[in-house]
Amino acid sequence: MNMRDLIEKLKEQPKTVEEHREEQKKEWLGALKKFFTEIEGWLTPAVTAGVLTTARAESEIVEQDFGDYRVPVLEIRSGGLTVRLDPVGVRVVGVVAAGGRRLLGLRGRVDLVCGPIRVPLVRDAAGTWKAVPMRGEPRDVTEESFSELLGEVLL
């Protein structure tokens, strides 16, 4: 690292707790945007085939560290049903997977909600999203696993 790099890095460093939280919130909102865009990309063939539609909405969440803020919500509709991807927050204490196993060190959570079904999708420290169903093992959210998940919910 040379002096110019050091100056840039020091400039980028958050200076107060509020600024640090603002950075965290910005990073979380960026991750949500990227995640939803990726899912919309996976769903494009189904939308083109006319079996699904997608829409974006917004909701407000309240977190102790960040206060009230608006987040995007992704809605997937098919045959009179709506699957909602509902952001829960960036501060996730721990999510309990099947068999009582705890997932810790998480950096965000979105719930996939359809009627009484609620599947937490959690983001780990490396930025990988995992689905945590009530029964069965947690699995990485990929195009294939997301299709399976939607099939389980909608069919």
Partner: protein
Amino acid sequence: MSSFPRADELIEAYEDQGEALERLFHARPTLAADPRSRFHKLSAGAIQDRLEQDRQELDLWVVMMLMASFEAAIRTDAKDRIQSRTRDEVRKPLRILHDKHEHESRIRLADILAIWEDHAPVSASAKSNLRILLKHRNWLAHGRHWTNKSGKLPAPLDARANLDDYVQALQANAADFPRG
């Protein structure tokens, strides 16, 4: 001994009911076609909305019941510890607290917890998570008539895990917790 269901009993019942709701959801065409069903003639969307509402309520009830179960365990333990004259660090301060409030209707839960936290290695996060759960509990138990500013209410399994963290910290000081 408290007659209130324990956390594991509540979670067992919750998981049964959660699965029942999911199975109802997947059986929606049958339900809509059955004249004896409460869901007769409802559209898929209407059944979805109704079962989502049912699930939300179920989650709220279970979190409130878990908190009540936790409070029952804390209070029953304190009473038993005092009566049984246990030889541990918390009995004496619990006894002093009890004597101080002898003529009052009841001792504040927060005061009992403060005694435990003075003697047991409860981490800052376990304390903070419990305080958040207690705020949610107040909101639930007192009619939800104000805006809950304590963040999203944890799901029952997450609430139970947070309560377990706290209880395990108390057990590090008193392995026989909860007594009674």
